[in-house]
Point group: C2
Chain length 713, copies 2
C-alpha cells in the first residue's frame, strides 16, 4: 500500500547529497504553502515608505528618514514605537496597524487601532483625530470622509463623525458601493472619491434578475443554502448604474444612462476639478467601447471622447490619468496598434499623440515627475520576460531606463517624482532594493537579500524558447531539474500549465518565477516544464486574441510544441508525461488529457472549466461570445464531449464552494464520464473556494504529488 500521510516533522531532518554537499530537503509546509515556517524560505522583504519626498526606512523598531540621494539616515526618527504606543495608551504587547503617511506636509501617521482610524502627530505624539472604521470601503484623506457599508446600504461618515445614508434599498440583490461586473474590465472596487473628497461616485448593481447558483454550506448544524448570484454566458446579466453623492449638498445625482441592460461601465476617473466623471462603456458583445464624459451636477453625458472597435474584443483596463501640470490633458491606454501603449488626449477628445511605441507592452503608469515633465512607467521593452522602469520625457518622448535592465522590477515614486524606490528580482537574485534618481539615473543600493535556500535543496532552474504552433512566434519555457540531475537517466516529467489570458508563468524573476511545488517535485525526482502558450499576457493583442471563440485550442497546440521539444531531450521520459494546472490550467489539463490521450499518462486538474457555458458572462463572452452566437466554439471546447476520450489517470480537484468556477463544471464532467464509461478520479475541499491556502494548500499539494507518485512513477 502507498503511504498516504507524509510525516512533515520527520522529513525536515532528511538531507540529500549533491556533489558531495548535504542539502536539506524541503517539506511542503516550508515551501511557501502557508505553513508556519514558510517565511524562512522566501526571499527577505523590506519596509520602505515615502513621506512626500522623504524616504522612510521602516526596517528597524524605530523608523528612520533617509536621504534618497545617498541612502543615508537623516537625524530625526520617524516612528518611535514606545511613543506611538503611549499616544494610544497601549501596552507593549498591543499593536498599532500603520497605514502610511497621508500628508506630505504634515507630521501625521495614519493608523488603525482596535477598529478605529486615527491620525497621530509624530512630533507631539498625540492622537489628533479619530473615526470609526466599521464597514469602511474607502477613506478620503482630504475630506477625511469614509464611504462605508451598513446592512447592504452605502453611508458616508464625515470627518466630524456625523453619518449620512446614501441608499435605502440595498440587499443581496441590490448591491451598493462594491465591485461590479465580476471584477472584469479592471474593476476592483465600487467607490471613487473626487480629489477633494467632496464627491463620491459609486456603483449600484441590480442583480435581482440574475440566476442564483445554489452553493451549500455543509458546516452548519444541517447543511444550509448560500446562494450566489452568478450570470452564466448567454444568460441574463445584472444592471449597473452610477451615482454621485455630493457631501456638501448631501444629495445623490444619478448618471443619466438610460436603459443599462447589457452595458458595462468601467474605469471611472474624476476630472481634477471634480466636475466631470470620465468612464469607459462597453457593449455586451465587448467589441465596441467609448470613453465618455458626464456632468456630475446634471448627470448628463457631455461628450464621447474616444471610440475603439474590434473584430474580436476590446478590453479597456485603465482609467484615464490627467497630467498633474495640465488639467486639460490626460493619458489613456490602448492596444490598438497591437501592443498596450500610452496615448495623450485633451478634454475635447483631440488625440495628442502616442507616448510609447514598440513591439512590447507598457505594464504600469507609476507616476509623474512635474519638474522634468516626464512620466515614469514600467514596461517589457528590455525583454519579454522582464519588467523595467523607464522615464519618458513628454516633450521628446525619449525613454530612459532607470534600472539595471535585468529582471523584474517594482517601482514606488517620491511625491515630486525625482526618486524611485526600485525593488527587484533576477533569476539568480533573490531580491534587491535601491533608490534611484529619475533625473540622473544615479542609484543607491539599499538592500540585498541573502539566498534563503542556502544549505537547502537547490534544483536546477533553466529557461529557453520554442516556436509556437504558428511556426513564427517565440514561446518561453522554464524547466526545473532535480539537484542531482544525471543526463544519462530518464525522468518522469510533469508539465505545469495555466495558459489563460491575463497571466504568465515564465519570467526573469528569482528561479525564473518557479512555484515552490516544482522544487518539491524535483526533490522527488521529477522534471518540471512550464511554457507560456499563445493566449497568455504581455505579448501583445494578436498573441492573446488568437484564442478568440475557441479557448484552449491554440493553447493546446503550443503546449504540444513544448512536448515535442521535450521529446528531443534524451533525459525526459516521454512515456511518463504528466500535466497539472488549476482554474484555466485545470481546463487546459483536462483538455490535454482528453485531446491528447496518448501523450499524457497522468493529470491533475484543479477547479477546471469544463464547458464555457457554465462560466460567467463578462469573462466568458469576451473570449467565447455566447453559446447562441458561437455554438461551434462552445461545442469544440466543451470537455463534456471529450469525456469519452479519457484514457490516462485524471484527478479532478475542486473547492466544493468555488464561486468562480462553480462545481457544476466538474460534476457535469463526472456525469459525462460516467455515461461514457470512463473513470476520472475526483476530490473536493468542502467549504473552499477557487483556491486553497495555508494547511489546506499543503494537503492539496500532498494529494497532487501522491497522485503522480502512484501513477506516473
Amino acid at each position: 500500500m502507498k503511504i498516504n500521510r507524509i510525516c512533515f516533522t520527520l522529513l525536515i531532518l532528511i538531507t540529500m547529497n549533491v556533489n558531495g554537499e548535504a542539502q536539506k530537503l524541503f517539506t511542503l509546509e516550508e515551501l511557501n504553502f502557508g505553513g508556519k515556517n514558510a517565511y524562512n524560505y522566501v526571499p527577505q522583504r523590506w519596509k520602505y515608505y515615502w513621506w512626500g519626498n522623504k524616504l522612510v526606512d521602516g526596517n528597524q523598531e524605530d523608523n528612520l528618514f533617509l536621504n534618497p540621494a545617498t541612502g543615508k539616515a537623516l537625524k530625526d526618527k520617524c516612528i518611535i514605537r514606545d511613543q506611538l504606543l503611549s499616544a494610544y495608551g497601549l501596552s507593549a504587547d498591543e499593536n498599532v496597524h500603520f497605514d502610511g503617511f497621508p500628508y506630505s506636509n504634515q507630521s501625521l501617521l495614519l493608523n488603525t487601532v482596535k477598529g478605529e482610524r486615527s491620525l497621530v502627530d509624530f512630533n507631539e505624539w498625540k492622537v489628533i483625530w479619530r473615526q470609526s472604521a466599521e464597514g469602511s470601503l474607502e477613506w478620503n484623506k482630504v475630506s477625511r470622509a469614509d464611504a462605508f457599508l451598513r446592512d447592504y446600504n452605502l453611508w458616508i461618515r464625515y470627518a466630524d463623525g456625523h453619518e449620512v445614508q446614501l441608499s435605502k434599498d440595498g440587499s443581496r440583490e441590490i448591491v451598493y458601493g462594491q465591485s461590479v461586473h465580476r471584477d472584469e474590465f479592471g474593476i476592483h472596487k465600487g467607490t471613487f472619491w473626487s480629489k477633494d473628497g467632496q464627491k463620491l461616485a459609486f456603483y449600484r448593481m441590480d442583480q435581482s434578475m440574475v440566476a442564483d447558483y445554489p452553493q451549500v454550506n455543509t458546516f452548519s448544524r444541517e447543511a444550509s443554502l448560500e446562494p450566489d448570484k452568478y450570470p452564466m454566458a448567454g444568460m441574463t446579466s445584472h444592471k449597473v448604474t452610477i451615482g454621485i453623492f455630493d457631501l456638501q449638498r448631501e444629495e445623490t445625482t444619478w448618471l443619466n444612462l438610460g436603459d443599462v441592460t447589457n452595458r458595462y461601465f468601467t474605469n471611472l476617473a474624476w476630472s481634477p476639478d471634480g466636475n466631470i466623471l470620465y468612464l469607459f462603456e462597453l457593449n455586451r458583445d465587448q467589441n465596441h467601447c467609448t470613453l465618455d464624459a458626464y456632468d456630475v451636477i446634471t448627470g448628463n453625458k457631455l461628450k464621447t471622447l474616444y471610440t475603439e472597435d474590434s473584430q474580436k474584443y476590446v478590453e479597456p483596463l485603465h482609467p484615464i490619468t490627467f497630467l498633474p501640470w495640465d488639467n486639460e490633458k490626460f493619458i489613456y491606454w490602448s492596444w490598438k496598434d497591437g501592443y498596450t501603449h500610452l496615448y495623450l488626449m485633451n478634454v475635447n477628445g483631440k488625440e495628442l499623440g502616442q507616448l510609447t511605441k514598440g513591439n512590447w507592452v507598457v505594464k504600469e503608469l507609476i507616476g509623474f515627475c512635474p519638474s522634468t515633465k516626464s512620466i515614469i512607467i514600467t514596461s517589457k521593452e528590455a525583454g519579454d520576460l522582464q519588467k523595467n522602469i523607464y522615464s519618458i520625457n513628454l516633450k521628446t518622448l525619449k525613454r530612459t531606463l532607470l534600472d539595471n535592465g535585468k529582471g523584474v522590477h517594482q517601482a514606488r515614486l517620491s511625491e515630486d517624482g525625482l526618486y524611485v524606490l526600485d525593488t527587484w528580482q533576477e533569476p539568480d537574485v533573490p531580491r534587491k532594493c535601491a533608490v534611484t534618481s529619475t533625473k540622473t539615473g544615479k542609484s543607491v543600493l539599499l538592500q540585498t537579500a541573502p539566498d534563503p535556500w542556502d544549505g537547502w535543496y537547490q534544483p536546477i532552474f533553466e529557461n529557453g524558447i520554442v516556436k509556437a504552433a504558428d511556426g513564427i512566434t517565440d514561446l518561453f519555457w522554464r524547466m526545473v531539474k532535480p539537484a542531482d540531475f544525471d543526463p544519462s537517466k530518464k525522468y518522469p516529467t510533469v508539465i505545469y500549465v495555466y495558459g489563460g489570458p491575463h497571466a504568465h508563468n515564465v519570467e526573469a524573476s528569482w528561479h525564473w518565477g518557479s512555484r515552490s511545488w516544482e522544487t518539491y517535485m524535483a526533490q522527488k525526482g521529477y522534471i518540471l516544464f512550464i511554457l507560456d502558450n499563445r493566449g497568455s499576457e504581455d505579448r501583445g493583442r494578436d498573441f492573446e486574441q488568437v484564442t478568440f471563440r475557441h479557448l484552449g485550442q491554440e493553447e493546446m497546440k503550443d503546449q504540444i510544441c513544448g512536448v515535442n521539444y521535450l521529446k528531443t531531450l534524451p533525459y525526459v521520459d516521454t512515456d511518463r508525461l504528466g500535466v497539472h494546472g488549476w482554474s484555466y490550467g485545470g481546463f487546459m489539463t483536462t483538455s490535454l488529457m482528453t485531446n491528447y490521450p496518448d501523450v499524457f499518462k497522468v493529470g491533475v486538474a484543479g477547479g477546471p472549466v469544463i464547458d464555457w457555458k457554465y462560466y460567467e458572462v463578462m469573462y466568458g463572452e469576451r473570449y467565447m461570445d455566447t453559446p447562441e452566437s458561437n455554438p461551434e466554439g462552445y461545442k469544440q471546447t466543451s470537455l463534456l464531449n471529450k469525456a469519452k476520450d479519457l484514457k490516462g489517470k485524471l484527478q479532478i480537484i475542486i473547492g466544493m464552494n468555488d464561486p468562480t468556477v462553480v462545481p457544476q463544471h466538474a460534476l457535469q464532467f463526472l456525469n459525462a464520464c460516467i455515461e461514457a464509461g470512463t473513470q476520472p478520479d475526483f476530490y473536493v475541499y468542502p467549504g473552499e473556494g477557487h483556491n486553497m491556502s495555508g494547511h489546506k494548500s499543503v494537503h492539496l499539494h500532498e494529494r497532487i504529488t501522491q497522485y503522480f507518485e502512484d501513477y506516473l512513477k
Copy 2:
C-alpha cells in the same frame, strides 16, 4: 498506468479453465447490475396468479387455469392476448399492463392501458369500466374509487368519474396522502381504504417547521436548488395528523389527536365494519407505544388496547389483522418475549394468548384458511438462515411445516387459504415453484429453474459459523472463493459488510445469498467474506438491541471475530484485507478502516453515515437517542473524530443528491481528514441518490473493483 476502462464487449469472450473445463467469464454488466443481458444470469422467474381459488398460469402467451391440487391445466383459457388487444382496439405491438384478478366471483381483469385503469370481462372480451389513473395513489376494488394527488392536494375519483377535492392547502410543506415519518415504523404509504371502499383514512404531514437540506440539481442550464425537508436527529421534526374522508357524505373527519408534536402514528388498520380505526402511537423517544382505537365518525379516541414499553426502544412494524371469521378478534405482533411473534387480542383489549413461541422470529402473516381455522405464516423456525411456510391451527396452536424445510420460501395463498403457491431457493437450487395444500401438505412441483450459470464461471460458495464477540452468540458467514481455488496459495480477501438493523446478508438462498459482485471479484482472484454481525435482523430483540446508543461498536467487534477466523485460514492473506460496504455498510467500512487501521489495507465506503447527528430523526433517534441525551454515544461513533486515524486507502463514494444519507456526511468527513492531514479518496455520482442502478451501477462496481486492484493486489 492502470487501465481504467474495462472493455465489456471483449471480456465476454474470455474464458477460464477450471478443472479442465472452460468457464465463460462474467462481465459486470451481465452480473445483474442492470445491463441489458443481466436477466440471462438470474434464475428464471414465473408468472402465477390466484383468481379466487383458481391458479392461473401466466407463463404462456395465453394464460391457463390450473387445478391447484394437481397442477394440471383446466379446460378454459383465461387471457387470450389477441382478444384482449382487440377489446381495447390495440394493435399487436401495443401493450396492456395486467394488474390482476380483482374479483374472485367475476370474470374481470384489471388492466392499465395508456394511463387508464379498466376492467375487461374475459368471457365477453369487453371493456366494462374505465377510469383515469392520473396521479393515482391507491384504488379500492369494492367502491372502485381512486385516491389521487393533484398539485399536492388529495382528491377522490369516484367509480362514476366524478371527483372531489379533500384538501386545499397541500404544498411541498403540507403533504397529503403520502408516506410519513420517512418510511420508518413500517410505513410505506399514506392512504388506507376501509374494506368497503367507502372511507379513506389518510395522513397529513406538516413539515413547514423542518429544516431544508439544500440538494442541488446540476443538470439544469444553471445549477438549481431542489431542497428536501430533512429533520436531523435532535432537530425539529414534522407533525402528522390523520383524516378520514367519507365518500357518501363527502366530508372529512380529523382524528382528535391534540398536540401532535413529537408523536408518531403508524400501522393504521380498519375494523371490518369500517367504524373504527386502529393505530399504534409512539413517543419521540420511541420507548413507549400504544395500540389505540378511534371512532371514525367523531374522531375521538375510544380506547387504548395495548401498551408496550422498553428500556431501549419499541418498534411496532405491523398493523393489526382481524380474523376473517371473527370481527371481535385480531392478531398483533410483538417482540416482547425477545422474538417477533404473533398474539391474539379482542376488541376490548383482552389478551387471548401468544400464537407463536420460540427462539426464532415470525417473518410474514401470509393469510388465513377459514375452513380449518388456521393461519399461514413464514418464519425462521426451521433454521436461522431459512424462511419456511407454516400453518398454525388457532385452536391447538400446532404448527405444520408446509414446505420442504430447506431454503428461503415465498408464499401466496388462494382465497380460501386451502392452497399456497410456494416459490423458493436453496443454496444449490436456483429457483423452484410448487403449489401445496395447506390442509394435507401435499405438494405439486410446478417449475424448476435451470442453473443460469451453467457453462459460466462458478465460484465456490461456502458458509459457516463463528462466535460473536460476546463469546456466546453464533454468527453466520458466507465465503466466496475463486473457481480455481488453491489452498496452498494466499488470496487477497475483501469483507463485504452491511451490518445495520433490518437487514441480513447470509441466508440459505441460492449461493447463500451471494451478491453478483462477489463472483466478479472471485473471477479476479479475491476471496470474499460476508458476516452478519449482532445488530442485524431476524435473530431476536436482544441480538439487535445490543447496538443501542453506540451504533457500529458491537458490530465492529463481531466483524473482527470474522477477521480472527480468517487469520486461522492459511489461504487468506491477512496482510491484504479489504472492506467494502454501502450505506450502513459504508459507515461500517469507514468505522473499521479508522478503528482498526492496522487490520484493513483498503476500503471502499459507499453513501456512508459519518456522524449520526446528520441522520434523520426517526431511524437515528431509535438507535442513538438524540445528540443532547446521548453525547457520549454520538462522540464515540462519530467518524469525524476518527478521521485522524485513517492509515489505509479509503475511497468514499456517494450519490451527490443522496436524500437518505445526505452529502453532508461525506463532505464533513473529508473536511475532518483535511484538517487532520489524512488522505481519503472520494468520488460522486452527480444527480444520483442513495443507490446506483443500471449502467451507473456497472460504472460504480468497475470503480470499486479497480480500487482493490490498484491498492490491494
